[in-house]
Amino acid sequence: MADFLSLHDAVARYVEDGATVAMEGFTHLIPFAAGHEVIRQGKRDLTLIRMTPDLVYDQLIGAGCAKKVIFSWGGNPGVGSLHRLRDAVEKGWPHKVEILEHSHAAMACAFEAGAAGLPLAVLRGYVGSELPNVNDQIKFIECPFTGERLAAVPSVRPDVSIVHAQKADRAGNVLVEGIIGVQKEAVLAAKHSIVTVEEIVDDLTAEPDYHPNACIIPGWAISAVAVAEKGAYPSYTHGYYPRDNRFYKEWDAIARDRDAFRQWLDENVHQQVANPAGGKA
C-alpha cells in the first residue's frame, strides 16, 4: 500500500540524482508542487520525461536539475516558447541539456506500453517525418500479417513517476478526474510513484460522485501519497481551482530573462518551504 508521506519525504525517498523521472499531467493536474520540491532539494542529472514539458520542466531545467529531456511538445501552451528550455538547448545555460523528441502519439503509446509491461510500443506513426533522423530510438518493424511498415518506440519505464490528482482515500487509492492524460500510465509504468493530492477522504467508493468506471489508481500500485493543496497551480485541478492562464502569460517575461527567472525561483520556490505549491496561491 502507498505510504502517506510529506511531499519533502516522498521526494527525498524516491527521487535520486541521476534518476529518470516522469512528472505527468496533460495541461491539467501538472505536479508543480512536487516539481518545486525537487528543485528545493537540489536534485541533479535527472532525465525528465513529459509529453509537454510546460512551465514545470522549464523551471526544473532553469534550476539546473535536468541532464536530459524527453518530450513531444515543448512550448508554453497558447503563449509561445519555453525560454529556459530554449536557453539550455541553444546556449547551454545553466548547462547543456540533451533532448530526445517524439511525437505525442508515440509518447502516449510509449506510456501505454510501459504500463502494459511491454518493452516497445507499435504505432502507425512518423510517416514522412524527419524525427526518426534525429531520434535513434524510433525504429520501424514489419507487420507479420500484412507486411505494413509500422513505427516502434521503446516503452517509457521511469524510475519514478510523479502525478497530481484530486483526492486519495485512507487506503491510498487515488481518484483522477477530468483530463486524465497519461497519469495512470505514468504511475503504472514506473518503478516507484508519488501522487500528490488536493485532499484525503475516507473512502473513494463512498464518495457521493463515485462512478464504477472512474479513473481510480489503487493504493497498492502507488509508492507514496502526499497532500499538496493547490499542488497543480498554476495549472489546475478539475473541481478545485481553474488554470491561471494569466500566470502562464506572465511566465513568458519571467523566463525570458535569466535574472528575472532566478529571482522568481528564489522567491517562489526556494523561500517557499512552508508553501510547497509555490506561485501566487
Partner: protein, 257 residues
C-alpha cells in the same frame, strides 16, 4: 454592425468555412481552434471537435488558451485518456479532418514546428511535433491555417516535422493506410491547394483586396496561381459578430483568471 474586418478575421472566417457540418475535426490550438469553434457557432453546429487532451466532441464557450483547458473537458461529451485519444480516435480512423497551424510550411505543404537552423545547433528551437505528425497522416485530410509571410512560407522547410507531401511531392505515394494529406492552406491573404499532380501548393483564391503581388512577396518560393483564380467571399455579418463575441468572451475570461 460593420462589414469592415481585419485580415486575421478574413483568415479565420475562411478557415471556418472549410469545415462542413458533421465533420469530425481534430483541432490544433490557436488559429485552428478559433476557426473550428467559429464554424461550430455558425454554419456547422454539428461539427465534432476533438482536442488531443482527450476531450471528445467539445463545445467550449470561450477559446481555450491551452489544448487542455478545463473548459474543454467541462463542455465535452466525454474525456478519454491521451493514449486512447491517439490510438482509438486518431489512428483508429475516426477523424475526418485534422486542422493544424505551423511555424514553417514549404511548397509541398510539409510542416516544420521543430527548429530553425541545424538540428544539432539550432538558431531557434520551436516547440516540436506534438500531435501533428500523426494527425497529418492518420486524419482523412488536413487543413492548415497560418499567417502569410516569407519567414513562414519557405521553399523547403528546415526540418519536416510533419508530412505534407514530402521533399519531392511523392511522400504519400504507395503508403498504405494514409490520409489524403493537406487539401487546403488558408492564410490571411489567400487559399492554396496542392496541385493534383505535383502536389505543389497553388493559390486558388485571393482574399478581397489582396493582389497576386502581395502573395508573391509573402511567399518564399515562386508561387503558382490557378488558371481560374477565385475571389474568396467576404466574411458575413453574422460570422464577424460571432467571432468578435467569441474573442471578447475569451479575452475577458483569460484576463480574469
Amino acid at each position: 454592425m460593420s462589414r469592415e474586418y481585419t485580415s486575421s478575421e478574413m483568415m479565420t472566417v475562411t478557415a471556418a468555412r472549410a469545415l462542413e457540418n458533421g465533420m469530425t475535426c481534430f483541432v490544433g490550438i490557436g488559429l485552428p481552434s478559433e476557426a473550428a469553434n467559429l464554424a461550430r457557432l455558425t454554419h456547422a453546429p454539428d461539427v465534432v471537435l476533438i482536442y488531443e487532451s482527450g476531450t471528445l466532441q467539445t463545445k467550449p464557450d470561450v477559446l481555450p488558451l491551452s489544448i487542455g483547458d478545463g473548459e474543454l473537458c467541462d463542455s465535452a461529451l466525454t474525456t478519454v485518456s491521451v493514449p486512447e485519444m491517439f490510438r482509438y480516435w486518431l489512428q483508429g480512423g475516426k477523424v475526418s479532418v485534422g486542422f493544424l497551424g505551423t511555424a514553417q510550411i514549404d511548397r509541398y505543404a510539409n510542416l516544420n514546428t521543430t527548429l530553425i537552423g541545424d538540428y544539432h545547433d539550432p538558431k531557434v528551437r520551436l516547440p516540436g511535433g506534438g500531435g501533428a505528425p500523426e494527425i497529418a497522416t492518420n486524419a482523412g485530410e488536413v487543413f492548415i491555417t497560418l499567417k502569410h509571410s516569407k519567414r513562414a512560407f519557405v521553399k523547403d522547410v528546415d526540418f519536416i516535422t510533419t508530412l505534407g507531401f514530402g521533399r519531392d511531392g511523392k511522400g504519400r505515394d504507395g503508403v498504405p493506410n494514409i490520409g489524403r494529406g493537406p487539401t487546403r492552406v488558408i492564410t490571411d491573404l489567400c487559399v492554396m491547394k496542392p496541385d493534383p499532380e505535383t502536389k505543389e501548393l497553388v493559390v486558388v483564391s485571393l482574399h478581397p483586396g489582396v493582389s497576386r503581388e502581395d502573395v508573391i512577396d509573402a511567399t518564399g518560393w515562386e508561387i503558382r496561381f490557378a488558371d481560374t483564380l477565385e475571389a474568396t467571399p467576404e466574411p458575413g455579418a453574422r460570422e464577424l459578430e460571432v467571432l468578435r463575441d467569441l474573442k471578447a468572451r475569451t479575452d475577458r475570461k483569460h484576463a480574469g483568471e
